[in-house]
């Protein structure tokens, strides 16, 4: 397989509403920034990969309308959608295209403009068919909603807490750290500099153990990246960021199976698919001891407690040990393994883009271009993560300042 690298990154400032632009125009901002960063014109592109969460904007395959705005005219273009993990799946689509040997320079584009739709309905549309069947067999919509769908991440949290000794205070402090990181990130949506764990603890409880301050906003935003072969990357970028390993793994949706069946993804905190994907991605990158070799992690954290669970499921420490490492300051910007320096999904969630931004953040940190939120230590290897579906698809990418294959 040939080596490949990220040579251009473009992000939009995430906000709750971008009513001044339509979808193609919003996404163009990220695309233009990525192309400019790489110093290329769309005519230099060999292919594009794009995706978003379809139901959230009510537009079927929006790249048909907007692809031209993103440089897609008369280019190979494919659309990949996998739920919350879409951005990471789109990026991996671009990795495959470059690594295949057929396309040298590929643009990956992911976005969401949630203000055009209604996020609650958008999430409901993932399960309408299952709810309809359970309703046919005696349950009511509110019953299913209250105990099932909305509970997914709450269940994950309580199961995880029981296993790890993670407390609600840990979650408050994690949220505070992430909010402060976000305040140093000009692209992040929530800007709450100086917020403390005590402030977070005062936010209303939604469902124990999740407080409002532990949850993500809904955002409008886009992310684009230019991927290139080693030969092209060395010409285009003074500091290409190498994509050394990647993998994804699916399991069954947690909490509710198909049409109301029991789910064999029994414990939503187990996340075996994440461990498998991480194992594969590290092996591909030649990383044997991730807890030693990885310098920075960007797990997909739409709820603050997930900082801990995915730190563990990405094999960065023993299971149950993440809260203790957090207590020691390991995950801080100046820590030994800074985690979510971007401020995480919990601070900006344009769903389709969110998992790609994790990869982009790792790349910016490796390049040393993360501005105020640049971590203290030198970053050689970083791991990015995306989570999709009902906690059933995990997507892992390993990035580095050196190519692993020579």
């Amino acid at each position: 397989m040939r080596n490949l690298a990220i040579v251009g990154i473009g992000l939009t400032k995430h906000v709750s509403k971008r009513r001044d632009v339509n979808i193609p125009e919003l996404v163009y901002e990220a695309v233009k920034a990525a192309l400019d960063d790489a110093g290329i014109h769309p005519k230099d592109l060999d292919a594009l990969v794009t995706g978003n969460m379809p139901a959230f904007e009510g537009i079927n395959c929006p790249e048909l309308w907007g692809g031209g705005y993103w440089g897609g005219y008369r280019k190979p273009l494919i659309r990949i959608t996998t739920g919350g993990s879409t951005g990471a799946s789109v990026a991996q689509g671009a990795f495959y295209l470059v690594a295949s040997g057929l396309y040298d320079i590929v643009l990956a584009v992911a976005f969401e403009k949630q203000s055009d739709g209604n996020t609650t309905i958008g999430l409901n549309t993932t399960a309408l068919a299952d709810v309809a069947n359970m309703t046919a067999y005696g349950l009511s919509g509110p019953e299913i909603e209250a105990s099932g769908a909305i509970g997914l991440f709450v269940y994950q949290a309580t199961s995880y807490m029981a296993k790890s000794g993670c407390t609600i205070e840990h979650i408050d402090r994690a949220a505070a750290m992430l909010r402060n990181n976000a305040a140093k990130n000009p692209y992040a949506h929530l800007q709450q500099a100086g917020v403390t764990a005590a402030d977070i603890a005062k936010t209303p409880m939604i469902s124990y153990p999740l407080r409002f301050g532990h949850t993500c906003p809904t955002s409008d935003g886009a992310c684009a990246m230019v991927l290139a072969t080693e030969e092209k990357a060395r010409k285009l970028s003074r500091k290409p960021v190498w994509v050394n390993g990647w993998a994804a793994c699916s399991e069954e949706p947690a909490i509710v199976g198909l049409f109301g069946a029991g789910s064999i993804n029994v414990d939503p905190a187990e996340q075996r698919s994440c461990k498998l994907a991480a194992t594969k991605a590290y092996a591909m990158a030649g990383i044997k001891e991730p807890w030693k070799e990885i310098d920075l992690a960007e797990p997909y954290v739409p709820f603050a407690y997930q900082l801990f669970i995915y730190f563990e499921r990405l094999l960065l420490c023993d299971e149950g040990n993440a809260p203790r490492l957090f207590d020691k300051g390991v995950m801080e910007l100046d820590g030994n393994l800074p985690t979510c320096p971007s401020g995480a999904v919990v601070s900006s969630n344009a769903i389709g883009a969110a998992a790609m931004i994790r990869i982009a953040e790792c790349a910016l940190q490796i390049k040393g271009e993360a501005g105020q939120r640049q971590v203290t230590k030198d970053v050689h290897n970083a791991v990015a993560h995306g989570l999709g579906g009902q906690a059933n698809l995990n997507v892992v990418t390993v990035l580095s300042d050196m190519p692993s294959r020579r």
């Binding site: 509403k17 009513r19 001044d20 139901a55 009510g58 549309t125 309408l128 068919a129 309809a132 069947n133 359970m134 067999y137 005696g138 349950l139 009511s140 919509g141 509110p142 019953e143 909603e145 209250a146 105990s147 099932g148 509970g151 709450v154 269940y155 994950q156 949290a157 309580t158 199961s159 807490m161 029981a162 296993k163 209303p204 409880m205 939604i206 469902s207 124990y208 399991e251 069954e252 947690a254 909490i255 509710v256 199976g257 198909l258 049409f259 109301g260 069946a261 029991g262 789910s263 064999i264 993804n265 029994v266 414990d267 939503p268 905190a269």
Partner: protein, 158 residues
Amino acid sequence: MTQIEEHISISGKWPLSAYTWKVEKFLDRFTEGLHNKKIFGAKCSNCGTVFVPPVVICARCHSRMRLEKDQDWVWVSDMGTVIAYSISYLAVADGLRTRDPEKRPLFILVRLDGTDTAIFAELIEAPDEKIRVGMRVKVAWQEVPKGDLGDILFFEPS
């Protein structure tokens, strides 16, 4: 067309009401058993995985579940273990059959003994502070079960 924050928007919809979804009637036999306070798990004839409620396809071994014969079903316990829980602080929505309207609902994810799956349910007859992962619970049967999924919606500490 409406004006929102001085910007022009155009509205539209996705009429999910225009869709149908086709589903095998795989829950019929399961819910019949509930009439008699019996929970039957569907056992994959290939790999032995037990599903409650049943499923049409076993993900683990990629087999189509055969739910016609008696040997494809196993009688499982109405007792189980709490895998995870949640205490809802949200206003309780209309149509929620929680048995104590004064109290915050406790929702649990339970694995019934003898099954390989989790189901969601509501825990009743238990104070907030008693709930924990690993606690043993059993179905709180109504005197005369209706023979629908609502029969196993409520659990109590065992």
